[in-house]
C-alpha cells in the first residue's frame, strides 16, 4: 500500500493508511530497543535541507542508519550554493540517481510536491515553508495512541498560535480524521482560520470547541498539545505582553487543574511556553515524542522501501 509512495502532505493519506504506518511503528519498537537491524542494508537515503532543521535531519538519518541503510546529505552552505546554481527540479532529477529515497526540507511552500513531480524515488516532505511536515504529525499521532491506546473520542487541547503554527494545522486535520474531540485554545488574534475549523468538522472530528483560556477545560483533557506563540505574529506588542502569560504551562497550573493521566506534548524546540519544572511531572511527554519520531521514521522508511506491512 505504501511502497514507493511520496509523503508530501497529511491530506494525501486516509485514516487507514496512517494506521498502517502507526501499526508498523509499533512493530518497530522492538527493533529500536535492540539498537536496530540491517533490513535496509544497501539502500541510500538522501537528506536535502535547503532550510535548517538539525533535529529533523538527525532524526531521519538516525532512523535510516538504525535499519542498516546509508545516508548522503546536502545541508548548510552546500545546499545554499546548490540552490543558487540550479533549480529544485534539476537538483531532484540529479540526486534521485544516487539514492533510493529523498527527504527534503525547503523554505518554499509546495517545494516537496514539485520535487515529487520530478522524482521517481519516494520523496518525504520534512517541511515546506509554512505548509506541511507530515512525519511530525505521524509521530504526534503515534505518541498519543501509544500513551492512550486510542485516538478516537479523546479530548485533545491544541494551545498556542493556531493561526500560523504549521504543525498544528496538519495535526488538527489528522486528529479529526481519527474522530478526536478537538479543543482549540488560543488568543483571539491567533485563532485557527475558519476554513480549517470547518474542515475539521467535515473530516470527522467528534466535536470542535474554541477557548480563550485553558483553565476551565484543562481538567477534562486527555492530551494538551502546546505550540509556541511568537511575538512577531502579534500586530500589537502590548497585546502580546498581555496574553502571553495565559498560554504558558506552569507546574502550578498542571498540579491544580489537570488530570493525573493528562499527557503534555510539544513539537520542540520550546522557548518559554512550557516551564522547565513541568519536565519532571508525570504528564510531560515531549522528550518521548523525540524518541518516537525515530521509531516512526524507521517504520515509514521501511514501508516506502518495500517492507512488509
Amino acid at each position: 500500500m505504501l511502497e514507493n509512495r511520496h509523503v508530501i502532505s497529511v491530506r494525501d493519506f486516509t485514516r487507514e493508511e496512517i494506521e498502517v504506518i502507526l501499526d508498523h511503528a509499533e512493530r518497530m519498537e522492538e527493533v529500536y530497543e535492540r539498537g536496530g537491524d540491517d533490513r535496509l542494508s544497501g539502500k541510500v537515503l538522501a537528506t536535502l535541507f535547503f532550510s535548517p532543521s538539525t533535529r529533523t535531519r538527525l532524526s531521519f538519518e538516525t532512523a535510516m542508519l538504525r535499519l542498516g541503510g546509508d545516508v548522503i546529505s546536502l545541508v548548510g552552505k552546500e545546499a545554499a550554493s546548490t540552490a543558487k546554481g540550479e533549480n529544485l527540479a534539476d537538483t531532484v532529477r540529479t540526486v534521485e540517481k544516487y539514492c533510493d529515497a529523498i527527504v527534503l526540507r525547503h523554505p518554499k511552500e509546495g517545494a516537496a510536491r514539485l520535487a515529487a513531480d520530478y522524482a521517481s524515488v519516494p520523496v518525504i516532505n520534512a517541511g515546506d515553508g509554512a505548509n506541511q511536515h507530515p512525519t511530525q504529525t505521524f509521530l504526534d499521532l503515534y505518541t498519543i495512541r501509544k500513551e492512550k491506546g486510542r485516538i478516537e473520542g479523546l479530548k485533545v487541547g491544541l494551545m498556542g498560535d493556531l493561526k500560523y503554527g504549521r504543525t498544528v494545522h496538519s495535526l488538527a486535520y489528522a486528529l479529526a480524521l481519527f474522530g478526536a474531540e478537538i479543543h482549540l485554545i488560543s488568543p483571539e488574534e491567533l485563532r485557527m482560520p475558519r476554513y480549517i475549523v470547518r474542515e475539521l468538522e467535515e473530516a470527522g472530528a467528534a466535536d470542535v470547541e474554541e477557548h480563550r483560556d485553558v483553565r476551565p477545560i484543562l481538567g477534562e483533557l486527555d492530551v494538551l498539545y502546546v505550540i509556541r506563540i511568537q511575538k512577531e505574529m502579534f500586530p500589537d506588542p502590548e497585546e502580546y505582553e498581555r496574553v502571553k502569560g495565559s498560554y504558558r504551562i506552569t507546574r502550578e497550573l498542571i498540579e491544580e487543574h489537570a488530570r493525573e493521566d493528562l499527557i503534555i506534548m510539544h513539537p520542540l524546540p520550546r522557548v518559554d511556553e512550557v516551564d522547565p519544572d513541568v519536565d519532571e511531572l508525570p504528564q510531560a511527554r515531549y522528550f518521548d515524542q523525540v524518541r518516537n519520531g525515530v521509531v516512526v521514521r524507521m517504520a515509514l522508511l521501511d514501508l516506502l522501501l518495500g517492507g512488509e506491512e
Binding site: 491530506r11 529544485l88 527540479a89 511552500e109 509546495g110 510536491r113 514539485l114 470547518r198
Partner: protein
C-alpha cells in the same frame, strides 16, 4: 433594440458572459484566432443581466470540461453547440475541478511563483465547497472570486 449577431453554421456559442470578458475567454479557450472565424459581441443588452458579451466560435465544438474553464470568469455562461445553424446541445458551465496554468497563486512564497522552477500553478476544487480551490503545491485555500482577480 437587441443587437443581432450573425448566426454560425457549425460551432459553439457562449452566451451570458459578463460584459467585457469575451476577449479574455477567447484567450482561455486557446482559440487560434488566425485560423478561426470568431464573432464577438461586447456589452450588448440582455434581459437577464442588463449587459452581456456573446462569443460565437465557428468550427469549434467545446467539450463540457473545456467549457468549464470559463466558469471562473463567467459563472453563468451558457454554451450552445451549433450544428447546421441550429442548437444541437445546450448546457450551463460548472466550476472546473482543476484549474491549470491560467491563474497564479496569491501566496508569494509558493513554489509556483519561483520563476526558475518548471512548474505551472494548479488549483483543485475542494470536495466540500464548489467555490473553493486549493493550490496543489502550497495547499492554500482560495475562494473562486479571488482566483478570478488572479488571472494571469
Amino acid at each position: 433594440m437587441p443587437l443581432k449577431v450573425r448566426r454560425i453554421e457549425n460551432g459553439t456559442v457562449l452566451d451570458h458572459l459578463p460584459p467585457g470578458t469575451a476577449p479574455l475567454i477567447l484567450d482561455i479557450l486557446n482559440v487560434d484566432v488566425e485560423r478561426t472565424t470568431v464573432l464577438m459581441a461586447i456589452n450588448v443588452e440582455s434581459s437577464k443581466m442588463g449587459r452581456k458579451d456573446i462569443l460565437k466560435i465557428e468550427g469549434k465544438f467545446l467539450e463540457e470540461e473545456e467549457a468549464n474553464r470559463v466558469a471562473l470568469i463567467a459563472p453563468n455562461a451558457t454554451v450552445n453547440i451549433i450544428r447546421n445553424y441550429s442548437v444541437a446541445e445546450k448546457f450551463k458551465v460548472k466550476p472546473p475541478e482543476r484549474i491549470e496554468g491560467i491563474v497564479r497563486c496569491p501566496n508569494p512564497n509558493c513554489i509556483t511563483n519561483d520563476e526558475r522552477e518548471p512548474v505551472e500553478p494548479v488549483f483543485i476544487r475542494e470536495s466540500t465547497d464548489d467555490l473553493e480551490y486549493r493550490c496543489r503545491y502550497c495547499e492554500r485555500v482560495i475562494r473562486a472570486e479571488q482566483l478570478r482577480e488572479l488571472l494571469r
